[in-house]
Each structure stands twice: as C-alpha cells, then as structure tokens.
C-alpha cells in the first residue's frame, strides 16, 4: 500500500485544522447562547415571582435551547463535521436574520463577533466538505 504524498497530507491536515477551528466556533456560539439563556431564565423566574410577565423567562428558555442545539452540533461535529457544520450555519443565519428583522438596531451590535462567527462557520463547512470528499 502506498502512503499519501506529503502535499496531500499537508492539504488534509490544513482542512482538519480548519474543521477543528470550526468546531471551536460552534462551541463558542453554543456556550454564549446557553449561558445568556440560563441567566435570562434565572432573571425571568425572579421577575415572575415579582409578578412581571413571562417574556423574559421564555426568551431565556429559547436561548438556552438554541445553545443546547449548538452544543449538540459541536458533539456531532466530532464524528460528522460536514452535516454538523451545515446545521450550525443554517441555524446561525436564521437567528441573525430573525434578530435583524425583529430589532433592526440589533444588527450593528456586536457585528464584528457576528461576522467572525459567520466566517468561521462558513469556512468550517467548506473545509469539512473538502475533507469528506478527500475520503479522510
């Protein structure tokens, strides 16, 4: 059996590194959502006790669920990086577009991080696809 050539090994190693970095982005988004969601849920429970509405509580629960979905994608990406990255990218796009549609002023807030996450996820999808196609 012939070993893969050095250039191919380097190529695949670079893809694998990008996929790993993409997993990192998914984890980061998941943790941010989960932590903020948990915080809002806690604040919402406090607000409920004080007789305020449930909106904060349900927003928190929603964010926590989204965070858990991203964490699920992070776990999935260990074995199957391509579909997990595609799922994370679609969910992230949906959330960002929805946020902008509901509150246009939110579009600019944290735009650098949003752009970074988006580029990281898109790059992860591309690398995972190339890695998958190369048969590794």
């Amino acid at each position: 059996m012939t070993m893969p050539s050095l250039s191919e090994s380097q190529h695949n190693s670079a893809h694998r590194q990008k996929v790993k970095s993409g997993r990192g982005w998914i984890l980061a988004i998941g943790l941010i959502n989960a932590f903020i969601g948990a915080g809002l849920t806690f604040l919402g429970l406090k607000a409920q006790e004080e007789g305020a509405g449930d909106d904060l509580f349900f927003t928190g629960v929603g964010m926590a669920i989204i965070g858990l979905i991203f964490l699920g994608c992070w776990l999935w990406a260990k074995r199957h990086p391509f579909p997990a990255a595609v799922t994370a990218l679609l969910i992230y796009i949906a959330l960002q577009v929805a946020t902008i549609a509901v509150e246009p002023s939110e579009a600019v807030r944290g735009i650098l991080f949003k752009a970074l996450f988006l580029v990281g996820l898109a790059s992860a999808v591309q690398s995972a696809y190339k890695l998958k196609k190369s048969g590794y």
Binding site: G62, I65, I69, T87, Y129, K130
Partner: protein, 299 residues
C-alpha cells in the same frame, strides 16, 4: 470482464482501482467511484449505467455529461490519490442556503404580519406570493422533483402512518396542558384574525393546514433534502433538514415537542418512499389537528 467493468488505473500511481466507467469515457474523465440513484437513493457502482435496484439512470452523471463528470470525478485508489473537490461541488449547498434564506424571509414576513395583527386578507396575499416564490425556486429542480410526486404502492402504509400524526398532536397538546397549564397563553392563535374578517373555517384550514403542508414540504423535503442527499448520507440530510425546518418556525415550545419530531419523521418517510405525499400528509395531519384544536376553543 465486460469492457465497461475493466479496471481503471489511478492517474497518480498507476495501480488498478477497480472503479470508474472505463471504455467509453476517455482518459481524465474516468473514475467516478459511485453515484446515487435519484429515484431509489441506492448507491450504484460508477461503472453501471443504470441502477440495479430500479433501473433508473437518473443521478448517473457519467452517462450524459462528461464535463459534469470531470468536476465530480473522484478517483480513489490504494495510494489515497484523490482529486481535490472542485468548488462547483458546493453548488448544491449554496442552492440550499439561498433557498433557506428565501424561506426565512417568507416566514419572518408571516410572523411579522401575524404579530402586528395585519388584516387576514393581506396575510393571505403575502402567503400566496411566498408560495409562488417557492414554486418558482422548486422549478429549477423540476427534473429532480418530478419523480417525488408519483405515489408508489409501497407508500400506502406510510400514508396511514402519516394520518396518525393528527391524534398524536391532539393527545400531546392535551398532555402538555395537563403538565404545563400556563403554556396555553403562548400558543399561536391563527383563527381570530381570520374570523374577525368573516372568513370561514374552510379558508382557515386552507391557510394554516393545506398551504404550509404542501409548499413547506415542497421546499424542505423536496428541494433541500434532495440537494443535501447529493453531498451527505440520508440520515445526515434528514437531520439537517429537520433542524432547519424546526428553527425556521421560531417556536420555542413547539420546537422540541412538535416541529423536530414531525420533520424527522417526514424526512424519513420521504427517503423511504421516494415520494413527497406521505410527508405532505403528515404535515397536513399535524396542522389540521392544530386547526381542529382552535375550532374547539372558539366554538
């Protein structure tokens, strides 16, 4: 050995790979290891012209389009020589993302209109425009989608299974009310807006149950699932489609209880039967049950 089954040699190390459509396709264009039949989703060895399972040649890019084959060409042999994936291969994924953005804008428009309590007539007109857009987008994949509208005999048990979604939804809703009575305040009410303007339950059923069942399934289980099936395994494609379907509805409570299970089952049914009708019926039964629950509430 037949000429078409003759061994193909790796372009890198010269070793025989045993795959690839040899003979009729010259030099560099050889080497498609396998292709997926668009009719029955079976993986077919690259040298075969027709699927051994159903006899279809759909999906066999090596039979008619040498240029496409060259882009899709993926020659693997024991030396691990593999052509780098051409960027054109990601077209399916780009197509999925563009379609997803169109769906997203339509859903957000509907959400916004319902939240702002826009007149039901405007809601209907906007929905019609949105569905028209889905149809136009689906027409791009007409050749791929046309076989999915055939109802094969093997799909009948799945149609019966799909109908079971209606009692399951009603049962789950009552169970949810028993366990979390406060959640009823957060259920979406579709009917009041329509009833206020004098529309009957027939129009409500059409707008809430029939329309979404047909057009959403056309995109998610038709266009999206089948585009993704070209780049990933059926199980993975079903999960990705289901997640996209669930998240686009922006329903926190419904996501885990209703949307995700419905989407997963619909995707599984579509892949198993190679028909869109069971998934559409499942979606219709689920949405129909919601309309029924609203009917009970308002009558």
């Amino acid at each position: 050995m037949a000429e078409s089954e003759a061994a193909v040699h790796c372009h890198c190390c010269g070793q025989p790979t045993g795959c690839g459509p040899a003979g009729s396709i010259p030099g560099e264009l050889r080497g498609l290891a396998e292709w997926r039949c668009y009719s029955c989703f079976k993986v077919v060895p690259g040298w075969r012209r027709h699927c051994a399972e159903c006899g279809s040649s759909r999906g066999n890019t090596n039979s008619d389009d040498y240029a496409a084959l060259y882009k899709a060409c993926h020659l693997e042999c024991s030396c691990h020589s593999a052509r780098p994936a051409a960027p054109e291969d990601l077209r399916d994924l780009n197509h999925v993302i563009i379609g997803f953005l169109i769906m997203l804008s339509g859903f957000l428009l509907q959400h916004w209109m319902r939240r702002e309590a826009s007149p039901a007539t405007d809601d209907l007109i906007a929905s019609a425009g949105f569905y028209g857009l889905i149809v136009i987008y689906a027409l791009i994949d007409y050749r791929m989608l046309a076989p999915l509208f055939r109802l094969k005999f093997r799909a009948w048990p799945f149609l019966l299974l799909a109908l079971a979604a209606a009692p399951c939804t009603v049962g789950l809703a009552y169970l949810q009310l028993l366990v979390f009575p406060g959640l009823q305040d957060y259920w979406s009410d579709y009917a009041p807006n329509f009833l206020r303007e004098g529309y009957g339950w027939g129009v409500i059923s059409l707008a809430v149950a029939v329309g979404p069942a047909f057009f959403e399934e056309l995109f998610f289980r038709g266009v999206m699932l089948h585009r993704l099936l070209r780049v990933m395994s059926p199980g993975q494609a079903i999960i990705v489609t289901a997640m996209a379907f669930a998240i686009i509805h922006f329903a926190v409570i419904g996501l885990l209880f209703y949307l995700l299970p419905v989407a997963l089952i619909a995707g599984w049914m579509t892949v198993r039967t190679n028909s869109l009708w069971p998934a559409m019926l499942l979606h219709l039964a689920h949405n129909g049950a919601i309309v029924y629950l609203e009917y009970l509430e308002f009558s």
